[in-house]
């Protein structure tokens, strides 16, 4: 990154934090205030990158990396962005956001690979990642110390096979984990080895004891729970990728509160068939009113009312990918055809405003700060 670009970005970031972006001569009021965006992306030749965008959706930094990146997380205490390789990748890329540079590539330990997601503790001292134990294909949570040079200090059972996205519960004493249930091994690529015996679940792991304290299974064994988000009140919303027939009417979005059973959110038949059993990012807004789920195969983002579970609307987005909350009833979204947008508006009537468009294909997840 050039010093000139960095100064320009810093000014924009300050402006955005105040709710106004200066774009040439006009000023555009934002419904949300955010400073930057992190995501993995590919160019049209298949080269993978880790990327840092400013609040206008412009590149601050874009660094080529050898493995395709899936999710990311920001460590504010150290101004680091961490990017996780998707399965069967073994890399964790660490970007210093002050310089925009890749400062470290952490290779996972022997017989382990990442699943593309991680989360940090509230104090920024611990990192938890979803990983595959290649010796028995069991799901693991890698525990890393972020004090000094990041290093793995422990491994915990995730409570299932194929753990994918995870999140820290409010209070910071437990993790919620989407155990997708799908066994894969790098020797057979991304082929699912246990279609008939899959046992996906939503698990809560107590960090003090390192044990799973609560576990919930979906009604069909091929309903792979993959992505989730946690509202401020502790409600977990999750998305399913169903490994069965396209015509099977299984629920694809669920909501859960600890100690209760899963509540499945309504899905109109037309949307059910259009999304082809596949959901990607899940994001609840800061106010906890609305849940959004991106559906790349349906080229849409579905919106649900958190309180009633009612389906509210769909927003069109070609190859819809990343979603992340950016305020009350406000999100940043990305897609596989290079677009980054802000979604905002009234609870029951959201609209999309383009931020930027480029020749880079955004992977399924992004992080907003």
């Amino acid at each position: 990154m050039q010093r000139r670009d960095f100064c320009k970005w810093s000014l924009l970031a300050v402006a955005a934090a105040g709710g106004v972006v200066c774009t040439g001569e006009e000023k555009v009021a934002l419904n949300s205030a955010f400073q930057g965006i992190f995501s993995g992306c590919d160019d049209q030749h298949g080269q993978h990158y880790i990327a840092y965008l400013n609040s206008s959706g412009e590149f601050v930094s874009r660094v080529p990396v050898p493995q395709r990146v899936h999710g990311s997380v920001y460590v504010p205490q150290q101004q680091l962005a961490l990017f996780f390789a998707r399965r069967p990748g073994t890399h964790l890329y660490i970007m210093d956001t002050a310089s925009g540079r890749l400062v470290q590539t952490l290779e996972n330990t022997k017989d382990r690979h990442f699943y593309g997601h991680g989360v940090i503790s509230d104090d920024g001292e611990w990192l938890y990642t979803t990983e595959n134990n290649l010796s028995d294909l069991s799901g693991l949570i890698g525990v890393y110390s972020l004090q000094g040079t990041p290093k793995k200090v422990a491994e915990l059972s995730s409570g299932g096979i194929g753990p994918h996205q995870l999140a820290l519960m409010p209070g910071g004493d437990s993790l919620v984990i989407a155990n997708g249930g799908m066994a894969t091994h790098p020797s057979s690529g991304r082929e699912v080895l246990n279609l008939e015996s899959m046992a996906p679940n939503l698990a809560y792991l107590d960090l003090a004891s390192g044990r799973v304290k609560e576990l919930h299974e979906p009604p069909h064994h091929r309903m792979s729970i993959r992505h989730l988000d946690v509202a401020a009140d502790g409600s977990v919303v999750f998305g399913v990728q169903h490994q069965g027939e396209l015509t099977e009417a299984v629920p694809l979005v669920g909501r859960h509160r600890r100690g209760e059973s899963i509540k499945w959110l309504a899905l109109p038949e037309a949307i059910q068939l259009k999304v082809r059993q596949y959901t990607a990012s899940v994001a609840v807004d800061a106010g906890g009113q609305t849940a959004l789920v991106s559906c790349p195969r349906g080229n849409l983002i579905g919106c649900w009312d958190m309180a009633s579970g009612r389906f509210l609307q769909q927003l069109e987005s070609q190859d819809a990918a990343g979603l992340y909350r950016a305020g009350t009833n406000a999100w940043v979204s990305s897609n596989g055809v290079g677009q980054v947008s802000v979604l905002s508006g009234d609870h029951s009537s959201l609209s999309s405003r383009p931020l930027s468009s480029s020749g880079y294909r955004w992977d399924n997840h992004l992080t907003v700060i």
Binding site: Q44, R86, L195, S197, E248, G336, N364
Partner: protein
Amino acid sequence: MALRVLLLTVFWLFLGSCDRTSPEEKWVSALSQHIDSSYATLHSNSQLLVESAQAFCNQSSDINTPRQQWRKTMDAWQDVQWVRFGPIVETNDDWKIQFWPDKKNIVARKINKILDDESSIDESVVANASVVVQGLSAVELLLFDEPYVSRFSEGNLVAKQCQLLVAIANNLSSNTDKILQKWRDPKYQASWMASVHEAQDGVHANAVSDAVGAMLTQMEKVKTDKLGGPLGYKNRNRQPNGYFSEGWRSNSSLDNIKINLLTMQGLMVNDDAYDLRTLLESKGNGVIADEFQARLNDALSLLATVDKPLREAVMDVGYRPQLEELYQSIGELNTLIKTKLTVALGINLGFNSNDGD
């Protein structure tokens, strides 16, 4: 309507007369007319299906009349089934034409519920019901599945089942007309054509990547669902099951696959229009067209050796070798599309939608 067709014709003539029209635009233009013609054939057959269903229910013909017309309508659908872009997908109309795979026999369950619950059935009942009962799969059940066929000749369900048959056919005819008109919408056509030269960065979707992506999706469906399903490849126990074939009730599964392959052949080589081979040759990649046709011919030859209905053939060990070879052969065709054809045309297929996590 006539004005629309005239405007569209003028639009294409204008494009055709323009010297600077790129090979991609010429192919997309020809493709648009080809799809228009296929949708029109589907609609006209759907109308004839209404008439044949009415004739049968008026007792002026036997059940073979609507059965034959159902086959012609299904053939027309199989010819255009590959088009998974444009208005038909945006409004989910493809599911209204055919609901399949149906491993749990949902079509029968929903049809039975309508027959049980409704005192009188017309087109609006079907249009407001689930997509499951709106299309060709539901008509196939009524015309070919024994318990339903018997009820047409005896019992007190004759009248209601006839109402349902005609209502589904009417609804299908309305839907196919809607699909045709939406495809012909000059606004859609103009935007689809414009996408060809707007998206030069290889990332944004355009008409060429829409079409090639849809060709691949269709052939993956033929391999994985239409062949792999009944061969048992979708189940861990890998046990074949003839009832997982697409047209097991009417024994039309192999005809469907044959039409799907011939449609691909027609897209590659069409003597009457600018075809995919000509587009590839314009880029010095005619050899890929040769390879594509060779793979298709292999598949068609193997298919011709299967001389009993797919439902029975998958259960007969004597037929396994050629069915497995056919499965592999279509897999090779798909690899060719994914690797060589896309590169030759400079396009990328969906990113997260094809290969997400």
